[in-house]
């Protein structure tokens, strides 16, 4: 008898930016058909056996959930579809380098005439993998050296050590990740880290040593995350010319906080999406599980995208946040919000907006920022179908405000304050997409509504990062 051989697709990329044309739609499965197969098409079949070959340290019971659906297939097309889905599920566990699917007719003594055997041939990842990446954060670059132990105990647990050295930040950390068997999207991770950062816009040095545990689970269409974190923060002035306001923030503090985040993401891609929307709501309550810092912090992010005629996309986004101190202590500079720069309000220097003292920016307790973008293909469409598709021209309008609130006054006064002295900017530029993770922009910006103390960057501004307004 002939065999149906499902050709496997390329394995999903784990992480890290990669250059290349990104296919947003999943490729359809290709099937090699031999003439004898026509007999089996659309005939009812029974999946008698599903085997996974090539397991080493992975535990069997863990994988049974991922392949359970294959048994339910009723006809051949169904078998192929469910096998493909099971293959995707096995790959997303992050424990296999390659998964191949072979569908064959049943053999052996209890083989039924319409029985099928499905075999997944897997190649496990090595016990210890090292990696070297260069990462692009928000307008900074860094080298990341990592050591990973994937599938440490056989059920997709992952232990990661990471060391990162960057233009603004040096950090190292260890992280342990464990998914729930059968429900990979429900997982728990425990992290410990030390991060040192330098922030020249505030003449501030910050060293954070922290531990956190995070629980993620899906709920209906949303993804929820609950996190407890304890951080020992050490602040100091950067250089002798730091203002006295920054000097007053020097010292140590301990923050112990509980936070919750909810994300609904219906976009087709996180970088330069063509359709869909994003809603992210995050809140953090500090002080009720110990520590010195006591506050309630709320922030949200909304983005909507729509494709228009001629392959252009219109995108609108809105960010906002509020920091409410609890008790007598005022807020710490490490908890406040910052605004401005090539990744938020373009045309202004990095985080150089809002309350400041002697040229050092202190951050604010409340902010909002909005952006309206029109993305079009490059004029005259050079390199269409290949490299040229990575570039887009965009026209943008950004606006926002950052200030401190006097919590003695009511919410009316706060809204009024956020509505006064709005900074805004407009311009156009070129966006380059880096894989599915990051993007690079070169814009010509015209900042407006500049308040005294803000530092602007009018004219050409370059930005690289993951999260853009």
């Amino acid at each position: 008898m002939g065999t149906v051989h499902a050709r496997s697709l390329d394995p999903l990329p784990m992480q890290g930016p990669e250059l290349g044309v990104q296919a947003d739609d999943v490729e359809a499965l290709e099937i090699e058909q031999e003439p004898k197969q026509e007999v089996l098409e659309n005939k009812n079949v029974v999946v008698q056996q599903v085997t996974i070959d090539g397991l080493g340290r992975t535990k069997d019971d863990f994988l049974s959930y991922e392949i359970a659906e294959v048994f339910r297939a009723k006809n051949l097309i169904d078998v192929m579809r469910r096998s493909h889905e099971a293959r995707q599920k096995l790959l997303r566990l992050g424990i296999f380098r390659k998964v191949e699917v072979i569908i064959d007719t049943s053999r052996g003594e209890d083989a039924l005439p319409n029985g099928l055997d499905v075999t997944f041939e897997v190649t496990e990842l090595r016990r210890l993998t090292g990696s070297y990446n260069t990462m692009v954060g928000n307008n900074e670059g860094s080298m990341v050296l990592g050591v990973k132990l994937p599938n440490m105990l056989g059920r997709a647990e992952k232990l990661t050590f990471q060391f990162s050295y960057g233009t603004k930040e040096t950090s190292y950390g260890v992280s342990f990740f464990k998914p729930q068997p059968g429900q990979f999207e429900r997982n728990i991770s425990v992290n410990a880290y030390k991060v040192t950062g330098q922030f020249p816009w505030s003449s501030l040095r910050e060293t954070d040593r922290g531990i956190s545990t995070e629980l993620s689970f899906p709920l209906w269409k949303t993804s929820q995350t609950l996190k407890w974190e304890a951080v020992w923060r050490e602040l100091g002035s950067l250089g002798q010319t730091a203002s006295f306001a920054i000097r007053e923030e020097s010292g140590h503090s301990l923050k112990s906080s509980l936070s919750h985040a909810m994300v609904i993401d219906t976009r087709n891609s996180s970088i330069l999406p063509r359709k869909g929307g994003l809603l992210k709501i995050h809140q953090e309550l500090a002080g009720y599980t110990g520590g010195d810092a006591r506050f309630l912090k709320e922030d949200f992010e909304v983005q909507l995208n729509r494709t228009l005629i001629l392959d252009s996309v219109i995108s609108a986004s809105l960010w906002g946040g509020l920091l409410l101190p609890i008790g007598d202590k005022s807020t710490c500079i490490a908890d406040r919000f910052y605004l401005g720069g090539p990744t938020s309000i373009r045309g202004f220097s990095m985080y150089s907006m809002g309350p400041q003292s002697d040229g050092d920016f202190l951050g604010g307790e409340a902010y909002w920022a909005g952006g309206l973008h029109l993305y079009t293909p490059l004029p005259f469409r050079p390199g269409r179908g290949g490299f040229g598709d990575l570039f887009r021209t965009h026209f943008f309008l950004n606006a926002g405000n950052l200030c401190n609130l006097n919590y003695g006054e009511g919410p009316q006064a706060h809204l009024k304050k956020l509505a006064e002295c709005i900074r805004w900017s407009y311009g156009l530029g070129i966006v380059l997409r880096l894989g599915n993770i990051a993007r690079v922009e070169l814009n010509y910006c015209i900042p407006m509504g500049v308040q005294s103390g803000d530092r602007i960057c009018d004219g050409f501004q370059f930005g690289a990062g993951i999260r853009f307004l």
């Binding site: 002798q240 020097s250 010292g251 140590h252 503090s253 301990l254 520590g291």
Partner: protein, 264 residues
């Protein structure tokens, strides 16, 4: 002791007069400040009062980290931040206020020598008693140092400070020894004896006018006399010299009459 850049810097500040809102920063008085820091702070306060320069004292739990050199106290005058007695004396001199102008070179060298004596013997002994004596460290120094912070940060910082001071003590050969072994009290006694002999029956150490040496000695002796430790031995050594006692009382009455100096 000063770099050339500092000299130019000080020259440029000479033109500005002493502002009304000059402030001195130290740790919290009631619960946090330790003997050695309080002594240093009182020395600077006494010096500025002797110069007739107004200064407000502000307590901050993070004063040690605010200070540019990491040491208490520091003063914020106009745009400048200056810490410790030596630099403060230089700073006020650049602004035209000085207590030791009338001294000749021999006397000035003598004054520097006695100040070095206080730093090397009195201050070192204070630090040793605070941090290297297990009883004092555990009952007084660590609890006070960690009081503004929540657990476990306070404990971590207090132990860090203790290790740092003990490392410094190792460098001068006092590491790993008990109070009796390093003869701390003997050193204090010798220092007080030398000071007492120099002072004699005079009101101040030099002529009839207070100098920075008077401020420094007052700061340390007064604090030793008025700070409660696990034992009274340190204070007893000072008390045995009556002219030093009356010196402290006199300085307190002359320059600190408007202020309640006693803590605890």
């Amino acid at each position: 002791q000063f770099l050339l850049a500092d000299r130019f810097h000080l020259k440029s500040t000479a033109a500005e007069p002493w502002p009304e809102n000059a402030t001195l920063y130290q740790p919290l008085m009631d619960d946090q400040i330790l003997l050695s820091d309080h002594a240093s702070s009182l020395s600077v306060q006494a010096y500025l009062r002797m110069c007739g320069l107004p200064i407000q004292v502000v307590c901050r739990y993070n004063a040690e980290y605010m200070s540019p050199s990491g040491k208490i106290p520091f003063i914020h005058v106009g745009n400048q931040v200056v810490s410790e007695l030596g630099p403060v004396v230089q700073f006020t001199k650049a602004k035209g206020h000085s207590l030791s102008d009338s001294l000749d070179d021999v006397q000035r060298a003598e004054m520097k020598a006695y100040m070095e004596l206080v730093y090397n013997m009195l201050l070192t002994s204070e630090l040793f008693v605070q941090w290297c004596d297990d009883a004092t460290a555990g009952e007084i120094s660590r609890p006070r140092y960690s009081s503004p912070y929540s657990w476990p940060l306070g404990n971590i910082l207090a132990y860090q400070k203790q290790w740092e001071v003990r490392r410094k003590m190792n460098a001068i050969g006092w590491g790993g020894k008990t109070l009796e072994q390093v003869q701390v009290y003997e050193d204090v006694n010798q220092c007080c004896q030398a000071l007492s002999q120099r002072l004699g029956t005079q009101p101040y150490f030099f002529n009839k006018q207070a100098t920075e040496l008077d401020a420094l000695v007052f700061g340390h002796l007064f604090t030793i006399l008025t700070t409660r430790l696990t034992s009274t031995e340190l204070a007893e050594r000072v008390k045995s010299y009556s002219n030093l006692l009356s010196f402290c009382r006199r300085i307190e009455q002359t320059y600190f009459e408007d202020k309640k100096l006693m803590k605890d």
